[in-house]
């Protein structure tokens, strides 16, 4: 399969006692723009870090350009990284260097033999121009706004014309115009330079705009893969909940963190999305709770059986999404509270 650039197979990763990635499978083809969406903390950044070998999986393979980054030596990993551009979620500029030095750093360290000072400066300016920045070369990262820092990070990521670019939330913290500029940049990288790209984003609008395929990361796996159109048409409750940003649903069933979210939503001040169905219970009181397993067992198959992540193969299409959801929601609320209290 020469046209598969990234091939992740059954990747497991446990961080701080939590199974963050759980048999994750992901294939990215040459020249395509693959967008990863998913809740905050679902492991999107962790997935990207596996692709560049910054993190090593507990088990499973992570092949990039045919090299298994899970087991590569430093030298092999560097050979692969030389073909990759990576935009960190935080930008990750070197604070002790000016913007110009930051962007030119990969050139100076690797291509200095091939490029003279003029060529380097020209390239730096050209890349900064691409991300819609000028006259910032002399500034220090600390003097820039968050959005500017991110764009400098992006300029640095693409300064060596990589074949594969990984973006960790390229447009978060940008204004709508900046967002559009970055979206255009990503699209033109694909069109003109045939660059393979993986984009992590929370911005559904730009995901639809730039993506060839979208993957939803949920439960430590790529739960759903498909074109933007597939994403909109699917009947899958999980995807539906995420795409439409609903507070209640199968996605918010799991962790303790979600419970906090729900509590916040329960409190009247911000009750917006159909908060009427609730009876004002006292969630802190330790209700007489049966074992959580028993509770989970009685649950009427709320969680859609998340089988394979074949493109656009949704699981049981719950037709009357809304009516059913209301019911489920009440049920889960009670269970969620019990579960939450159990360990205390």
């Amino acid at each position: 399969m020469p046209d598969i650039v990234i091939n992740i197979t059954d990747l497991n990763k446990n961080l701080g006692g939590k199974q963050i990635l759980n048999r994750l499978n992901l294939q990215v083809r040459k020249g395509e723009t693959f967008v990863i969406i998913g809740r905050s903390g679902s492991g999107k950044s962790v997935t990207l870090k596996h692709i560049v070998g910054l993190m090593r999986p507990d088990s499973g393979g992570c092949f990039v350009f045919g090299t298994d980054m899970a087991r590569a030596t430093r030298r092999d990993a560097e050979a692969v990284r030389n073909r990759i551009g990576y935009l960190f979620q935080s930008g990750a500029l070197l604070a002790s260097m000016s913007v110009g030095e930051n962007v030119s750093l990969p050139l100076r360290e690797h291509e200095s033999a091939k490029m003279d000072e003029d060529a380097i400066n020209r390239t730096v300016r050209e890349k900064l121009d691409l991300v819609d920045l000028d006259k910032v070369e002399e500034k220090m990262p600390g003097e820039l706004s968050g959005g500017m820092r991110k764009r400098v990070g992006l300029a640095r990521a693409i300064v060596r014309n990589p074949e594969l670019v990984l973006y960790d939330e390229p447009t978060s913290g940008l204004d709508p115009i900046g967002t559009a500029a970055i979206d255009d940049l990503i699209i033109s990288m694909k069109k003109k330079l045939k660059v393979t790209q993986v984009v992590v984003t929370h911005d559904m609008a730009s995901a639809r705009k730039i993506a060839d395929r979208i993957g939803l990361l949920f439960d430590g796996r790529i739960y759903f893969t498909g074109t933007p159109q597939d994403l909109d048409e699917t009947q899958d409750v999980v995807v539906h909940q995420f795409v439409h940003g609903e507070i209640a649903g199968p996605m918010t069933e799991k962790s303790g963190e979600t419970k906090r979210f729900r509590k916040m939503a329960d409190n009247p001040p911000s009750s917006q999305a159909g908060g009427g169905t609730r009876k004002g219970g006292a969630p802190e009181k330790p209700a007489s709770a049966p074992a959580p397993q028993a509770g989970a067992g009685t649950e009427p198959a709320a969680a859609p059986s998340p089988a394979s992540d074949g493109p656009g193969l949704p699981t049981p299409p719950p037709k009357a999404v809304d009516a059913k959801k209301q019911e489920e929601r009440q049920k889960k609320e009670e269970e969620g509270e019990k579960k939450g209290q159990e360990p205390a």
């Binding site: 870090k49 560049v52 910054l54 560097e78 990284r81 030389n82 990759i84 990576y86 960190f88 979620q89 935080s90 990750a92 500029l93 070197l94 604070a95 002790s96 750093l105 990969p106 360290e109 690797h110 640095r156």
Partner: protein, 253 residues
């Protein structure tokens, strides 16, 4: 309780291993010193200018107190001119390198831990890795090389200032002429004292920079983690300066 002790011990051994490996990897990268000469020079200048003012005060008072204490004790036997032997010998062999080590640990070692630690917690180290720039080559090696050079230089300076401080106290409080003092000083010192002192200080310099970088690279958990790395650097450096001082003295004499 026991669990915590075991854990601390495990962490300590783990950290020591990491630091040693870091030192070996740095040795491997020293061949790139010329390519990194700019950064090394910058680090050299920072360390030197950071160290000199404090070193001067510490050195002058160490010399003076040595002379004073020695003078008071020796005066009982009317032997106060012997401080011309005592002060230079103890400055050059022991006080100079160790004092310099302490100063550098507190000033430069902690700064290195904070700098590198801040980079570690803000993904900058990872950014270097992704750009195929080895952090050992890029950050650690220049710092260790610079401090290995600065420490002996600063030690010479501390030695000189300390000896002068001793001479001053000798002349003012003990009624010794400068001539007699420096005559004794020349008698007291042989070449071995000087190079063993400088060798010691070079070892301390490498220790301080290695520990600082190692703690910095392992810093996790935001500003708090950086603070912890800084504190640990100073403590670990103090301890190891004394341990290595003993070992080296034993080896040289």
């Amino acid at each position: 309780m026991l669990d915590r002790a075991a854990r601390t011990l495990f962490d300590a051994i783990n950290g020591a291993g990491y630091t040693l490996v870091l030192l070996f990897r740095t040795c491997f990268w020293t061949h790139a010193s010329w390519r990194k000469r700019g950064e090394i020079t910058y680090q050299l200048a920072t360390c030197a200018f950071g160290g000199f003012p404090v070193a001067m005060i510490v050195a002058v008072f160490s010399g003076m107190v040595l002379a004073l204490q020695g003078g008071i004790s020796l005066k009982t036997w009317g032997q106060e001119e012997l401080i011309g032997f005592v002060v230079p010998a103890s400055m050059v062999r022991e006080m100079g390198p160790v004092m310099t080590g302490f100063i550098l640990a507190g000033l430069i070692g902690s700064t290195m831990a904070a700098e590198v630690g801040t980079m570690a917690v803000s993904e900058e180290i990872e950014a270097l890795e992704v750009m195929s720039i080895n952090p050992v080559y890029f950050l650690v090696m220049p710092r260790i090389v610079a401090l290995a050079l600065v420490a002996p230089l600063l030690t010479i300076y501390v030695d000189l200032v300390g000896i002068l401080g001793g001479a001053f106290v000798g002349e003012r409080l003990l009624g010794l002429s400068y001539n007699a003092y420096f005559h004794n000083a020349r008698e007291a010192l042989d070449l071995k004292d000087i190079y063993s002192g400088l060798a010691k200080s070079a070892v301390f310099g490498v220790t301080i920079a290695t520990v600082g970088c190692s703690q910095g690279l392992r810093a996790r958990g935001g500003a708090e983690g950086v603070g912890r790395a800084t504190m640990r650097t100073v403590v670990v450096c103090f301890v190891f300066i004394l341990i290595f001082d003993y070992i080296l003295t034993w080896m040289f004499y």
